[in-house]
Subunit: 219 residues, 2 copies
Amino acid sequence: MKLYTFFRSSAAFRVRIALNLKGLAYAPQPVSLPKGEHRRPEYAGANPQGLVPMLELDDGTRLNQSLAIIEFLDEKYAQPQLVPKDALGRARVRSLALLIACEIHPLNNLRTLNYLRKNLRLGDEQVNAWYRHWIAEGLAKLEAELTQTRGTGRFCHGDAPSMADCCLVPQIFNAKRYHCDLAPYPTVMRVFEQCMKLEAFERAQPSKQPDANEQETRH
Amino acid sequence: MKLYTFFRSSAAFRVRIALNLKGLAYAPQPVSLPKGEHRRPEYAGANPQGLVPMLELDDGTRLNQSLAIIEFLDEKYAQPQLVPKDALGRARVRSLALLIACEIHPLNNLRTLNYLRKNLRLGDEQVNAWYRHWIAEGLAKLEAELTQTRGTGRFCHGDAPSMADCCLVPQIFNAKRYHCDLAPYPTVMRVFEQCMKLEAFERAQPSKQPDANEQETRH
């Protein structure tokens, strides 16, 4: 399998974690978002969404959207399970994953920040305030979910990592990068620390990727 | 079942369509987002995410996040299928649904527009330009997916409605409300028109909801 990835992309980071948790080997194919490589015809032609990650199976089939890729991997390679078998557990894990994937990440990704900077001509202070606002709003909801709904264990759902944890960890990396105050989310951070003890998470982090030598500017 | 819903919420609209397609009766519980009813303790206490839609089962179990709810309904009430049975079909339908739910909708929902207006003090013209920008970017990707990847039929995937169509239709309602130019997306619009011939979609639209008498201001 090939994974089209960018070291800083938190959507790609989610899939890297899932692949590592499943013990699946893959060849990383770096696509630099700051250089606009995802918009070049050779990539956009193969991926109409023009986004990373994209997973290319050995038969050439291409899959995109991180949560759709993780669900596919979970259906094809059953162990360890990333989406539980019981109906309510499945709904809870998906809901936690979507809370991050829909309510936080889209507001803070590269093209959104580019629009703020280029089209709206916002300065660093306003862009950072925007970033931290959505992190704070979203993580407060995540903290509330983890503390108020049944199912939280050592990880987001039970005592083993799930698709929800695959989303939580990259989001916390982003939050740290923007120096967000994470003290208000002790349960989220407890789960984060638990995840980072696992080699599958640790090895998937941006700084460990082959394209991590890209410039370190915030984007 | 009770569905906590707001007539204009496109995430709630998705679930209304799914419930109608499945032929499931539900009691709508309107939650006015412009009035901030989702932030009141009686709602936020029951729903840590503080969002609509929320589906309350007859035993009191509460589910949130529209795509997690639709997947739950599809697993519990098999017919008609909203997520196909085959692995690649499942991945494609989820990818199309997530393209809308992650790449378009979060940038254009009420709280994002409120931030632009209140925190960044943008005027109507800039807010509308923002709205249309993300619609145009997202629908161009959706059009490319529907025309360039295999599987599109009368609907997004094959000849019956799926979870992807449950997402597509509300997004087009939003686009029309903001007078977006939809001419560049003929395949998307063909699927939209096809969906709207079905009573399940027609009956789920904002103007047919019991809380549709709310003020018509854009928010």
